[in-house]
């Protein structure tokens, strides 16, 4: 896999991510987030994980991004100007993130990753993934399905309109 391709896709991920955190127009932030997600799907494809790449597009770009865009559209108040945080908070956060990032990169660069071998470009077949969901990873699988059920019920309960009669309590 050529370095040019990797850096191109990395650019597709990082530059829109910067737009997400720095952009004033939240709709543009949402759209840049989608571009970033598609770039990450390309990374998964490069890492021989086509199933996870398809899931990334389907769930993140197709569902989560839509939820967040809907949330933006429903809570957008055009009368109120977007306010930014203070310079102090911005510089402090930037410093903290740079320190954390530098530390992580330093630790990773110092470790010996070259001893690991790359696996075949075929990737792990989807059937094996399904088997593992029902044998070795059964417990997380069932817990995630329970979590999804709770999310479904909980989100509807939290976000629905209240139909209480005023003056009752």
């Amino acid at each position: 896999m050529s370095p040019l391709l990797f850096y191109f896709v990395a650019g597709i991920i990082i530059i829109p991510a910067l737009a997400v955190v720095l952009s004033e127009n939240l709709f543009h932030a949402g759209l840049s987030m989608i571009v970033s997600f598609l770039g990450i799907a390309a990374i998964y494809a490069m890492l021989s994980a086509p199933f996870v790449a398809a899931m990334q597009v389907l769930v993140y770009a197709g569902a989560i991004a839509v939820i967040l865009l809907f949330a933006f559209m429903l809570t957008h108040d055009i009368m109120r100007p977007q306010q930014e945080t203070t310079r102090l908070q911005q510089s402090a956060s930037a410093a903290a993130c740079l320190v954390l990032g530098g530390f992580m990169l330093r630790v990773m660069a110092g470790s010996g990753w070259e001893t690991l071998e790359r696996q075949a470009a075929e990737g792990i077949p989807v059937g094996k993934l399904g088997e593992s969901f029902l044998t070795s990873h059964l417990v997380p699988f069932e817990l995630v399905s329970l979590l999804l059920l709770m999310t479904l019920v909980g989100a509807i309960v939290i976000a629905r309109k209240e139909e209480r009669i005023r003056g009752d309590e």
Binding site: I40, L47, Q56, I64, S93, C97, E117, I124, L147
Partner: protein, 100 residues
């Protein structure tokens, strides 16, 4: 040559960008968007390791992370909508009425 370090480096950079967004943004929906970036950084890590050590654990857990991120975004959005309905304002600097 592109090795594991490049993918992990990409994930770290993305994580830190997301962290900056979470710490800095005032709109709740913007914070949720930056949070999704952090989830994705973790996922890149998992999938990269699964490529370099042919085990199924990385891929399986990355799918679980995707599912959990979907749940978290949904409930987060429901909460944001609920707050908006009550206070008409989702600026995080103003939603501090429990703290006196």
């Amino acid at each position: 040559m592109i090795g594991l370090f490049h993918f992990l480096g990409l994930a770290s950079v993305l994580f830190c960008i997301g962290l900056y967004g979470v710490l800095t943004r005032r709109n709740a929906v913007a914070v949720l968007m930056s949070l999704e970036l952090m989830f994705n950084a973790v996922n890149i890590n998992l999938v990269a390791f699964s490529h370099y050590r042919p085990e199924i654990t990385g891929l399986a857990f990355s799918l679980f992370v995707i599912a959990v991120a979907a749940c978290e975004a949904t409930v987060g959005v429901a909460l944001v909508l609920s707050v908006y309905r009550n206070q008409k304002d989702i600026d995080l600097e103003h939603t501090n009425t429990l703290r006196w």
